[in-house]
Symmetry: C2
């Protein structure tokens, strides 16, 4: 496409919206994430000599390749801050740039926002289900590759998790790192007690013992013995972990064993195929669990492993050098034309009441969500720290109507179109139908 | 764990199996992929100064960090070749190394094999459903991050796809690259005809025109006009693409329009939320589609976005310096002890009849699947090219009983345990229950 734009001497500016098309049955909101990586990409995108050589060998023309050799994104970008609760049709990133630049960046922008928004949202559901109990991200081994491993840690933290088991993500993003032991650790020693002793020797202040390698109950009793030995040395066993079986029944029995031995301070940590639905069920059935290690199902967003997110042209240059709105009419896939802003209206208690998608320069009630983050290819808005993004996420979630946080069948949050946007939408779609329709 | 092994002066060798625990309802086999990246990781894994600093700041002891500074994987690895059809419980990668080395590499090995095996398998199902029609991987924008984007292209190719829309993956892996145009291209020009003309001008020999931006039928007629103009210049329009609406009805109408105008050579390319189930349905309803662009649902393995893949200790050093088998007894998560080999038995027609999991040095009927790929940390087996891996995959699939390729409710392929493995399993599990059980 870019080669053809270039070939046809068309590189006038255009505006694209990155937005979510629709919600799946089991999501009522999304938490926007991925802007930081999107902006770094826009700032740093260049074509290497190796890449140009590859394109040369595939028949692209020299003048286009010369253009790519000098390529540098020069556009203007508006975006919603990371951690913001967002809804379908709302522009999340709005790119205005010469069409070749705006088009070239589509795949990466969608790729990283899709992944990160998906994980932040899924994590917020898991954390919500955990009702204030700690959730740690455990998904590295099952995330889709290494980039997803890192971003799952980052975005589950944005969504409210308390840490990750990935040491590399901890280092890169400053996220708290948590670890317990694996079954292999227990199996490697002559017996379970030896394994527990060895671990407690190394980490007397921070041992969580995995008690289900052979038998949960025997494991709990072995952990009691270790805790007693630690007490004599002035330490406290942090916790025990259960990773299999009926977590409700086992956690109750294990809690009893611990409490009977005066170890009410020892936490019970549970893991094993958990997600928001299972955690909700465990707590409803009064499982005695203090912390959850959640991996696969959260870090792959198992029940919905993608966001219906797209990047569509909404504005192009008209015949007189002015921007004119554009849209597509594809069946079931109509898009909103023109450069837009999103306004969020709160009720008197500060709770989100409704959003309005309006034209960029149209006055509407509420607070605008999109802010200018890039101008002439330079980042013009100081990026928040990950802690600030996480705080923004938690604040946003606290202002979302409680019913919108239901795990199933949450009602739709109201998003309206402004009068002027509606007018343009109506006029343009009937005009396009006249020109491009088949009748 | 590694710090504790080190602290307890325990770094004797052990063997781990990487294997799939169980099949989900809608999979009857997996195509193993990801070995190339696993071996490169094992070969190149080192700890950087920055990483050591991070660990220092987090309280790890100097002697352990010195060990990590010199870290280099020195183990022996056996593995199944990429592209091989595999089943639950079969060791796919078998690592024998000092326990700290073997343990440290767990997360990456699982991460990359999980992703790549998942995608190769899903792609093989999509290609099977397409009944010989071309399938192109289109998933970059919805894959979970950039690593998944690259591996989705690589592994969908292994699974039988004919190419990818990712130019970078094309360059890195030598995969054929296919592209069409986006709706934005059509929208950017004054009208659809102008957009088609511009594209055909740049790519007279390879234009696939997207005809559903405004109206499929009008789009098809516009494409006819372009094809006629191309014919006059001695070129042929490659195809038209439909991305929305009822693909059966529309493809039939479009085929009619093309044929009526003597354009039976113009292919119809379809895309839009496709997967194996939808393609099966489209072809059953006689859709006139020649090629499929499959993205989101294939490249995220939407109906099963993870493989139940694990990495478990099966063998450790006994008291007399000899390897002894080990296993875990966790409820519903029992593992197979000892160093093992997998044998594949074929029937007289060369079709796979059954697999036998045996002890490594046990004689069994059939052909062994695991080969030695690494010795003392060095790769000792020449890695096949991607084309060879793809050929191996296609060959393997052709030898799988046809009923095992059903998209739904495929019967289970028989995998047996050898007599000696059964014996060890029985003896060891009762011994462990005696020692570690709660009664």
């Amino acid at each position: 496409m870019c080669a053809s734009y270039f070939d046809n001497k068309r590189n006038d500016p255009a505006t694209f919206d990155l937005f979510i098309r629709k919600l799946p049955p089991n999501r009522s909101y999304y938490i926007f994430a991925g802007l930081e990586q999107a902006l770094l990409y826009l700032k740093n995108l260049r074509f290497s000599a190796e890449q140009i050589d590859y394109l040369t060998a595939h028949g692209f023309k020299e003048d286009f390749l010369n253009y790519l050799r000098r390529f540098k994104f020069s556009g203007e970008v508006w975006a919603v801050p990371e951690g913001t609760v967002v809804f379908p049709d709302e522009p999340l990133i709005r790119v205005t740039a010469p069409i070749i630049e705006a088009q070239l960046v589509e795949s990466f922008l969608l790729n990283t926002v899709n992944l990160q928004t998906m994980i932040a949202t899924k994590a917020s559901r898991v954390v919500h289900a955990a009702q204030g109990k700690t959730v740690i991200e455990f998904g590295l081994r099952r995330t889709h590759g290494t980039d997803a491993g890192m971003k799952a840690a980052r975005c589950s933290y944005i969504g409210g998790c308390s840490g990750t088991s990935s040491v590399l993500a901890g280092m890169k993003y400053g996220i708290p790192v948590f670890g317990t032991m694996a079954h292999s650790f227990v199996m490697f020693f002559d017996n379970e007690v030896e394994a527990f002793k060895a671990f407690a020797k190394t980490f007397p202040k921070a041992s969580t013992l995995l008690i289900d390698t052979y038998d949960n109950i025997k494991g709990a009793k072995n952990a009691v013995a270790i805790a007693k030995t630690l007490e004599k040395k002035g330490f406290r066993l942090s916790g025990v972990r259960i990773d299999s079986g009926d977590l409700v029944e086992i956690s109750k029995k294990v809690r009893q064993i611990l409490d009977k031995n005066g170890l009410d301070y020892v936490k019970i940590f549970a893991s094993g195929d958990l997600d928001e639905y299972k955690i909700e069920d465990l707590l409803r059935r009064d499982a005695k669990i203090d912390s959850f290690g959640v991996g696969t199902r959260m870090s792959t967003s198992e029940d919905r492993p993608y966001v219906d997110i797209i990047y569509k042209l909404c504005e192009k240059m008209g015949g007189f050098g002015e921007f004119v709105p554009t849209m597509k009419l594809s069946q079931g896939k109509i898009t909103l034309p023109a450069r837009k802003q999103v306004y969020r209206v709160k009720d008197r208690n500060g709770i989100f009441a409704k959003d309005i998608i309006a034209l960029h320069d149209e006055k509407a009630e509420g607070t605008p969500l999109l802010i200018k983050v890039m101008e002439k290819g330079k980042i013009v808005h100081k990026q928040p720290s990950l802690e600030q993004i996480r705080d923004n996420g938690l604040q946003n979630l606290s202002k979302l109507p409680e019913k919108c946080r239901q795990l199933r069948k949450a009602p739709r949050y109201p998003v309206a179109l402004s009068p002027n946007l509606k007018k343009i939408l109506k006029e343009l779609s009937s005009e396009l139908k006249k020109i491009e329709g088949s009748s």
